[in-house]
Structures are given as C-alpha cells and as structure tokens.
Point group: C2
Chain length 540, copies 2
C-alpha cells in the first residue's frame, strides 16, 4: 500500500483517533471500535437540536471534520466509501440527542438512506424526535431521478448548524435544511480517478481528457471531455449549472476533490468569477478541500441561491478549523505600486580624488579579467573575471553621473549601478555591500566603518563567513587592516586570498558544489580579485 | 498541461487574483503584474510592525494565504519555485511599511536571501527600519551548514504576527522571530515527487520506496528508504528529529506537502502521538496543507520548544482561513456507548387472532417462493421469493416470543425480527415499515393508519413512489382500499402488481439498472408478492 496507512482494516479507526487527538479536546469518539466509529462534540448539552451526519469515509474533512460548535453534533463514519451500520448510526443518535431532537443529514445513496433511516426508526422507538433530510445536489445525471448528494451537503451542515446552535427547534431546523436542499446544485470535474486503499488505481481517464459530472466515489462521470485548461474546464461546469439557477444572488462552494493544488484551486476561483456564472455569485466558500474523494485530482462547484438569513447562517462563526468561512466574491482589489521603485537619480557632483580612486579600482579589476577567468575555470565556470570587469567598465562609464561629493549618496549610487549592471548573486551581494555602507555612512560612520558595515550585511544576507572560500576571506582582513594604511590592507588581502587555496570544504557560494580535490591549490577567484584591487591601490 | 491551469506564464498571476477575489475584501494585490505579484492586507494601517514574507510560488497556502490580521502584512510571490525579484520585494516593503518598520521573514535559499536582502537595503535608503530573519529549520542535511527553510517558517509567521498585531516594536518582533528560528526543526518524507507545471513529472521514487529528508521543491531527499506503512514512516521521521529536541514541551506542526489525503494525515497525527516524540508534544498545528510542494504525496513534521508566551502567540486568533489554529495534543477522548443499542426484548404475550394472521401471511409468502423466484429471474437475480420466504420462516419461528397483545410493541418487534433475519435493502425497508407503523400505533393510529404511516416512511427513506416498479405499486393501493375490506385490498393489490408489467422505466430499486425490454411484460416480483399475500388473506 503506497499510502501513509498501516492497513485497510485500521485506516478509518486510526484516522478518527488522529482527528480526535488533534482536536484539543473539542472532539471525542464513542467507545465502539471497530464497528462503531462515531465522532461527537465534547461541549454538547442536548438542550439544542442535534445534527448527525456521516456516511462512508474517504470524503474528509466531511463529515467528522465538521463536528463542532455551529456545525455537526456527531458524525458516523463508515469504512472507505461504505455506509456505516444501522447500529453505528443509532449509537450516534442516542449519544447526542435530547428532548430537542435530532436531524439526520444524509447524502442520497441507498445504503446511507436505509441505514440512517432504520436507525432513525429505532431511535424514535425510544421516544426521541428524529427527522431526516436527504441531500441530492448533484445535477450531473439529468435523467436519474435520484441525484447524488455531494459537496452541497455542506450548505446543509452549515445552515442547519447555525440554526441549531442558535436554539431553533427541530421543525425549524429541518425546514431550513429542506430549503437548502431544494436550492443547492453541484457538479464535479476531474482529471483522474482516486486511489481506493487496497485497490489498484483505475486508469480510466486518458491524458488530455477530463471527466465531467463524476461522483465522489470514483464512479464514472457523465461524459469524458477534451481537457483544454482551467478556463475551458470551468466553462463546461458553468454550462451544466446554468440551467439550474435563477436570478438570485448565489453562494458558491468551490471544492477540491483531493489532490488539486491550491494554485490550481485559486485559478479555478478566478475562472469561476470570469465565467458566465460569475455575476450571480456574491459569496464564496473556499476554495478548499471540503468534500473530497480520496486523492482525486478534480474539483466541484456547488451553488445555492440565498436569502439574507441563509447568508447570516453561512457566515456565523464555527469551531471546526476545516470550515473555511464565507467571504464576499467580487472584484480583484488593486493597490497602486508604491513610489520609490524607480530610484531617484542623485544629483551628480564632483570630487576629483574620489573619482580617481573609483576609476583606478575599476581599472585594476579590468586588468585582472583574464587572470581571474583562468583561475575561475579551474574551480568554476570561468567567468568571475568577466563579471567583475563588466561591472567595472559600466561603473567607469557612469562616473559622470555619480554624486561624488556626497559619500552616503555615492555608496548608494554605486550599489544601484552594480545591481543594474552586474548579474547573478555576486552583483546582488556587491549592491548590498554598497547600499549598507551608504546607510552606515548616513548614520555617521567614516569610510572604513561604512565599508565594514557593508561587509557585515553581506555576511548576514549571503550567509558566508571568513573561511568559507569567498571574497570575504580577502575583504574582511583587508578592512580590518585598513586603519594601518592601504599597504597593510593589501598585505592582509593577499594573505587572505592565498589562504583560500587550502579551503577545500566551501560552505557557501558556488564552490560548495565543487569537490574538494578540484579546489585544492587554487585561490578563490573572488578573493583573488579583492587582493589584486588592494595591491594595485597600495602601489600608490 | 494536465493541470487546472491556463498556461505557465499566467498561472501565478491568475492564482493570486483568485485568492484575492475569494478573500472577501480582506486582501488586495499591488498593481504591478506580471513582474510584481504582491498580496497585502487591506486593513493595514502602518502603525504596527509590518511582516513581509514570500518566495517562489508552489508552496500555497504559504505565503499569500497567510496574509491577514495576526499573521503576514504582505507576501511577495515569485513564479513557481523561483524567487521574486528585488523590485517585487521592495514594492511589498514600501507598500506596507510605516514608522514602526518591517520584518522580512525569508526561507534560507540563496535567491530569496539575496533578493530580499537587497530590497531591504533599498528600503533602508528611504529611511525605513527593516530587519530580516532567515529561517533554516530543515534538519535533513546534517552536513550542510546552510539548512533549508521549510514548514517551520510558519511558526515564525504566527508568533511574529501575534506580536506585531499586539503592537510590539521591531526589535521585539525580530528577537521573537530569531528565538523561534533558533528552536524550530523540521523534516519531510514523501512517496512521490511533485509535478512542476510545464515539466514532465520526475519518476525518481520507485514503488515501495520513500524519500526521507527531501525539500519543498522536489529536490532529492537525503536518502531513499523502504516504505513500510505510516507507523514505520513516522518512526523514521521521529528518529531524525529526536537528536534536535530537548526536554521542553513542544508544539508540532504536521504539514501536508500536497496530495496526501486527510485520512492519511490523520493517521500520521495518530502515529506522531504514538511515536517516541509523542510524550514531548503538547500542542499541534494541523494536520493540514500549510507549506506544500505542489502536489507532492508527502508530509513534514516541524517541532518547536515553546515558552508560555509563545504558546499564547501561536494560539492567538488570526484572519487567514488557511491557518488551522493551535490545539492541545493529548489522549483520544472516549465516550461510552449509549444504552439502547441492544434492543430490549419485549415481553411475549398472547393474541390468538393476530398470531393466526401473521402465520397465514408468512405461509402465503412461503408458498409463493418458487413463483416469485421465477419471476425475479426474468428481471433480476432470482432471489426475491427466497428472501421473502426466509424472512417469513424466521418470523413464524419467532411467534412465541412476540408481544402479540400489544399492537405497538408487536409492529416494532416484527420490524426488529425482519431487520435481523432479512438481508439487503428490502430487509431494511420492511424493518422501517414496521417500526414506523409501531410509532404511528403508539401515537394512536388504528392498524390501517399505522400501516399507511409505515408505507409513507418507506417511501421517504427508500425514495420510491407509486409507478417506480416496486412493491409499493401493490402495497399502496391495497392499503388505500383496506377500509373497504380485505377483498377490495386484494383486488387493488392485484391491479397494482399487474400494472408494474408495463413500467419499463424503473426509477428506484434494482430494476432501475435493468434495460426496459427485459422488464416489459413481467410483474415486479415484490409487488407480485404483496398481491399474493392480500389475495390469500381475501380467500378468508
């Protein structure tokens, strides 16, 4: 069994236990394993109308996941896709029903109707008031007079649940449930069948096809259609639902049948809004996995024309976390892009000394291009020299528009230039370096302090430290030595760069993917570039 | 593309629109499509610390699904598994950050670190206070110093979110986030890889195998292991987590990586409780799909040792419906089975006339066995006669223990006998018939009224009406004619039974599966049985 289960015999009992355990005390189960698998609210006092639902398992969170304040009082769980026994249903009814009585909410399948129906009779023989409604929201099979009960059942759970919680009597709750059943329509579509535990997966739906109007037990759909994307899929669903709905405002329930990804479900929500039905849908429940069919890759849309009272009941808060709530379904709310995405070009200004320094640094990097490429070719993809030289050429070309007279603005402008001209991680890291230096300068740091702050930020963001075989191994000691002069810095940078040749366990950057024996004996090209730069400056 | 999408280029933009649309006005997006995909809270006032997270898409509901009161202020969405651009992150920061500043919560991937990091620098250049934390909760790769950020990120979202919502300042929120990152550990396991839109699905994990320690982008796990069910899978996960956790009370986050069914997730919750870690887990978040990897069939467990303040922050209510809440994780709460499941045997009593009537009815059905079987063989599986005769024989054998003197108790007792001795739907329906008749008798109906009430209930529960080619077609006219005497009832039953031969479109029961030309000319065997019964009684 290639599923996270232990065996077919225990899968429902173990799952019910897991659900109860993770409910934080909100749920309990009846002590009737293995045949009686009934989940009940622990905060129940029988003074209100009890709501009991259930049926075969495999549709989770329905129904046990909807037990709790404001929804079901008890759920009776059968084995996967199999109706629970009469005794199990009776146990559920007896466990929660007081003088206010009990409403059974049953999906329209023969087994469920009969077993819940007989259990209701037995409960009535105890003097309990029990009524039963049968949900038949599926419009997939127009010629079958007994439509199936599918995800529209949740409208009934929620609206009857809100009324029962508010203290309505059994007749009122039953009438409200009947009214919902009268209005609710649903249809599903799937790209694949489901994997029934212990059975091989049926390979019924070919690639490029979808099934429209299938049920929640993997039974075949009304027809196989060509699948042509989400828009077309929703259009077909909308076309089947359209004849069944009037001009009223509707609530839509957009249900994930199992393994459809949240991305797909959100796209389907968008397509539902854009479909011809969109204009009649004012509220939405989901998208979410509410009435599933194991791991089926499909979805269903349920619609309910609603009165104000029904909207209120659907919107009432509930305890079960599986219930996604009711939300308005309208336009996509847009907010304008904030100012500041297009950086303000600083006013250029003159500072001959700084201009010469930058030009010299750039020249040094351009001069090192071939050597650094050769070095990088030993341990990487051979482009470190070109990457740095390209950036240096661009910066040289930008000298006239730099705010050379203002150190803070200058750091930031250099960072901006580099982020726009230098690709890859190194470009971003150098941009971060200069931007952070600019911040430090703005807060009063001198130039060594500013560059040191830049390095600290690069280490935080990039996740590399000295010893990781990156340019930091040269830059960090160089900045530390700068107070002793540029000569000291150059010496420190060289020592640091040379030390990288022995660092064969790179922990960050690209070299972390390269084997140790390929790295040994070669300096890191980034660190070498930094050393060349300081050595050039030290030459005066 | 066999997914509910329209194309790779629009999948994230359409999904974000769908999410925003279905949020009922709680969310908006920045007007920066296609490159800037940022979801923001609409109820945000910049007076509090903004929380911005994001990264590549494909992990929904993370991160856009966690934008809202008490969690994120904005989410920056990249394309599937691709980091968003620096501009997109900057737009997100600028859109929501006021004087209180902004915390960036970033999963530890190079692209995210760099792009969020540079965006932070740019935002700081505008004078904004921006801090950034990097989540690295994955313990799968012990030798990699840069652990990945996976589902433990949600601990950070939630705890930092609660603090920010409560008005804590940026330093406090950042420190709280750092403390969570310090403690959080995660590991994942999967039975299959994920389907990246536009790419063929990689077939890396063989049947019978699972991958332990895989990431959330379909990257290979630390090792492939033999898969031997849910218990064994959770044991392996627990074994990897155990060395990383102390004696403190922990919160567990049980995450569905995509297409694992809710049944499986609940079983995994149960196994987590039973695992050696169980004793150290006092609270649970989920199980649920929180940080997914598209449609990956897998799960992850994240653990966080918690202080009282952290538990409070995790338990604080939030707006995003995708957040499942925090629940206590303890014993499975049991409730005793209710009394009444074993029906009380009524006191036997004597009533020679009724005894004779029942015996005669039974004899009539036993006499009809062969004929009814023959008739059923034409249109069904040939066992109607035997089913009824078997039940009749059992009821005859039970005459001595029936409460013959009390009509109400007698109906109920007959119903109970039939439900225990007669298999299939017809047994349940006859049991319902007599049980409902008993109820009606208890409320004062005479015997015709009681039987009529029984029939009404059978029609409701079974969903069949006159004309549907069932025994109702004989029973209904017979009961209607009974006030005119049993002779009239027999005549009506016979006419009704004979009319079924022309009913070739059965709407209920087994005959609804049989083709019209096979049904034509043959009476429904159930209706025929009813007619035979009344005809026998009419003979005096």
């Amino acid at each position: 069994m290639q599923q996270f289960m232990n065996g077919k015999d225990t899968l429902v009992t173990e799952a019910v236990d897991g659900l109860v355990r993770a409910s934080g005390g909100a749920l309990a189960r009846l002590d009737g394993y293995p045949h009686i698998k009934v989940v009940v609210r622990t905060d129940w006092d029988r003074g209100k109308v009890a709501l009991v639902s259930g049926g075969g398992s495999g549709h989770e969170p329905a129904h046990a996941g909807f037990v709790g304040q404001g929804m079901l009082t008890a759920a009776v769980c059968g084995e996967v896709f199999a109706s629970p026994s009469v005794d199990a249903v009776l146990a559920g009814i007896l466990a929660v029903t007081g003088k206010a009585g009990c409403l059974l909410i049953v999906k329209n399948y023969t087994g469920d109707r009969l077993n819940f129906g007989l259990a209701a009779e037995r409960a009535r023989a105890f003097g309990l008031k029990v009524s039963m409604v049968i949900v038949d929201d599926d419009v997939a099979l127009p010629d079958l007079p007994q439509a199936r009960g599918v995800a529209g059942t949740l409208f009934v759970h929620k609206i009857a649940g809100a009324l029962a919680e508010a203290g309505a009597d059994l007749d009122a709750v039953t009438a409200a449930a009947q009214a919902v059943i009268q209005g609710a329509v649903s249809i599903g579509m799937s790209l694949d069948t489901c994997t029934v535990p212990g059975n091989p997966r049926e390979d019924r739906i070919a690639a490029g096809k979808a099934e429209l109007g299938l049920g929640i037990h993997g039974e075949a759909g009304v027809e196989q259609v060509d699948f042509a994307g989400a828009r077309n899929a929703m259009a077909m669903v909308a076309e089947r639902l359209a004849p069944h709905i009037g001009k009223a405002d509707h609530v839509a329930l957009l249900n994930n049948l199992g393994s459809t990804t949240p991305l797909e479900m959100s796209i389907l929500a968008e397509e539902l809004a854009r479909s011809p039905l969109g204009g009649r849908i004012r509220w939405i429940i989901g998208p979410g996995a509410l009435m599933t069919s194991l791991d089926m890759h499909g979805f269903s849309v349920s619609l309910l024309p609603v009165t104000g009272e029904q909207v209120q009941a659907l919107a009432a808060p509930v305890a079960p976390p599986a219930w996604p709530g009711l939300a308005g379904f309208g336009e996509v709310a847009l907010r304008p892009l904030p100012d500041g995405l297009t950086p303000i070009q600083p006013e250029p200004s003159a500072h001959p000394q700084r201009r010469a320094l930058i030009a010299r640094c750039c020249a040094a990097l351009i001069a090192a291009e071939a050597d650094l490429n050769t070095l990088d070719a030993k341990t990487g993809d051979g482009d470190t020299g070109s990457t740095l030289a390209t950036a240096a050429r661009a910066l040289t070309g930008a000298l006239d528009r730099l705010p050379l007279a203002d150190p803070t603005q200058l750091y930031r402008a250099v960072g901006m230039e580099l982020s726009q001209t230098m690709g890859g991680s190194s470009g971003v890291l150098l941009a971060i370096f200069f931007a952070a230096a600019g911040d430090a300068s703005a807060s009063g740091k001198n130039w060594i302090g500013a560059l040191t702050a830049g390095l600290a930020r690069v280490m935080q963001v990039g996740g590399a430290s000295p010893g990781d075989r990156t340019m930091i191994d040269a830059l960090s000691p160089a900045l530390a030595a700068l107070p002793q002069g540029v000569g000291a810095a150059a010496t420190a940078a060289r020592a640091g760069a040379n030390a990288t040749a022995a660092m064969t366990r790179a922990k960050a950057g690209r070299a972390s993917y390269i084997s140790a024996d390929r790295l040994a004996g070669f300096n890191d090209p980034g660190a070498e570039g930094v050393a060349r730069l300081f050595e050039d400056l030290a030459r005066g």
